[in-house]
Subunit: 339 residues, 2 copies
Amino acid sequence: MKKGKITIKDVAEYASVSPATVSRVLNDYKWINSEVKERVQKAIDELHYVPDFTAKAMVRGRSQVVVVIVPIIDNHFFTQLINTVIQEMKKYGYYVVVYTTESADEECSFLGSSICQMADGILDATSLKELSPLQNVKKPMVLIDRYFEGNTTIDCVMNRNYEALYQGTEYLIRHGHNKIAFLVGAEGHGIAEERIRGFRDGLQAHGLPWREEYFIQDCWKTKAGIRYASRLLELPDPPTAIIAGNNTLTTGVLEAVRNHGMTPGGDISMIGFEECDEDVQAFARHGITSFRLDTSAIASCAVKLLLNRMEQSGKRAGARVEALELNFIERTSVCAPSL
Amino acid sequence: MKKGKITIKDVAEYASVSPATVSRVLNDYKWINSEVKERVQKAIDELHYVPDFTAKAMVRGRSQVVVVIVPIIDNHFFTQLINTVIQEMKKYGYYVVVYTTESADEECSFLGSSICQMADGILDATSLKELSPLQNVKKPMVLIDRYFEGNTTIDCVMNRNYEALYQGTEYLIRHGHNKIAFLVGAEGHGIAEERIRGFRDGLQAHGLPWREEYFIQDCWKTKAGIRYASRLLELPDPPTAIIAGNNTLTTGVLEAVRNHGMTPGGDISMIGFEECDEDVQAFARHGITSFRLDTSAIASCAVKLLLNRMEQSGKRAGARVEALELNFIERTSVCAPSL
DNA sequence: CTGAAAGCGCTAACAT
DNA sequence: ATGTTAGCGCTTTCAG
């Protein structure tokens, strides 16, 4: 064997055909003499020829690579998302570059990097608050689990957060609660706002007042959840039910409730969110009634949208926005308020 | 603006220089007229020029991309690993393709794919049992958390599993135990075997017999851990201490112990493994004495080794094997055996 | 059905 | 200090 790597030329020579023919075999072009085809295949195998990725990508203008961007957060929601994306994309012959962003600025510069330029598409659980930098991206792109008011240009997969909170609030009211607290984080890139809106409208629809002391918006951390839930429980006129705005806060509320010697569904009612498999197990054990996010479904849906976009790249049909149902899992953490 | 994408030629024209000069500015070559440099930079900015990834990679023979291969397992060890790798690699200007393998065969064919051919290096938490297919890979490669007997060719990062188990066994013996059980999985790609060896030698060094009924090797699942630990506890002559072979089994053993109305460090002693942040929190709460894997350290070390290999690619200096210390976290789950 | 040749966008000698 | 030129390895007309 010679020095350098084996190219299509070497294979061609070895099989006594032209490079063009080898290329045709490689991309199984239909009308090739089957005897020639075999000979070429043999050459490929014997020389252990592997087509050059860069050359192929350059000349075809497609790389079979997609980029997934996630914020650098320890929530398993994202890791599960990535897993599903990788496996789904694999089915269609795509490889996945994973990138974690630490800030909006960093994300912007990454979006303008040559790796994004070479990718065929981008899946973005963006950290940006503004839509405009995203609209400059020329690649097919799908936003994951993000809500932008009035977005009509970029494809998007998210959950019916508004509906879920509305429904959850109603559910509590139907069970006789009228002192309902809601704990939520900031920085949800639209999702916190949607959940708050659902809660507010749920109360309003049933004529319940908005009580400032029952609404806490700060951050998504479990520790904060414990602290704020404790504060709620120690109020002179405490709520009879608490809604936790995401999975980590649910864990926090649960912990606070137990620290106070109370039982969810006994002395107090609560509704939570479960976003990962771990949550499901933990919350089921404690009978927490909650909304389940189907992470795999979100990922699959995003992949589907992106593939679709990539096929008909160019056509600028308006943004498709998929809003997935949140599954309401009724367990035992909601009871009638104890008087 | 014209139709197609903007190339280095367009920039050159716009700035009235040659493409070569633009290229020099791009790769900040030292001896360029600063006035020209500015003009070129302005052209780049104004035209929103982004260098073509494929062309650059092709001509330079380097892509700034590395591949990370992990088995498709839900253990957070791997997700944490990937996170660290991405962030570390980012510092050095590398992007990361993540690939999850479902079988050894699939991994082999992936290793021979053109994406691996284009990557500058590979980080592999391999699913392979044999070393030989890996030895055929021509790219710089580092194996993660894998042990291959007699490997002298491929760089490798792993933990001192043998030493940990030896130490743990001794620790129990020093506390007066002589009926020590060990629960471990199969399919550890060398790591199960190393831990078993450490346990065996630990017993032997102190003249304790190997008792078949105290040794269970099946799988790594928590459920199996619960089942087998229960079986151990219900033995006519039960062990006074149990060592769990990894994090999920530790969870299982803990659960079984509690199901039997026992307390770790009270009625029974146990030692576990904590491999992720979640484990640390959960085990700390229950006072589980255990060995801590520093996932980030493993990842960083692997990245370091790989970068090193990539720099001096070509030089076939023998394999470097880094074996990281496992941190023994002494808590309260080990006491003297109750007689 | 197959071969010849042009060129994708860039870098790296080699000139100047 | 900058321009000219020759490819990198592949696909894809265009001829035959």
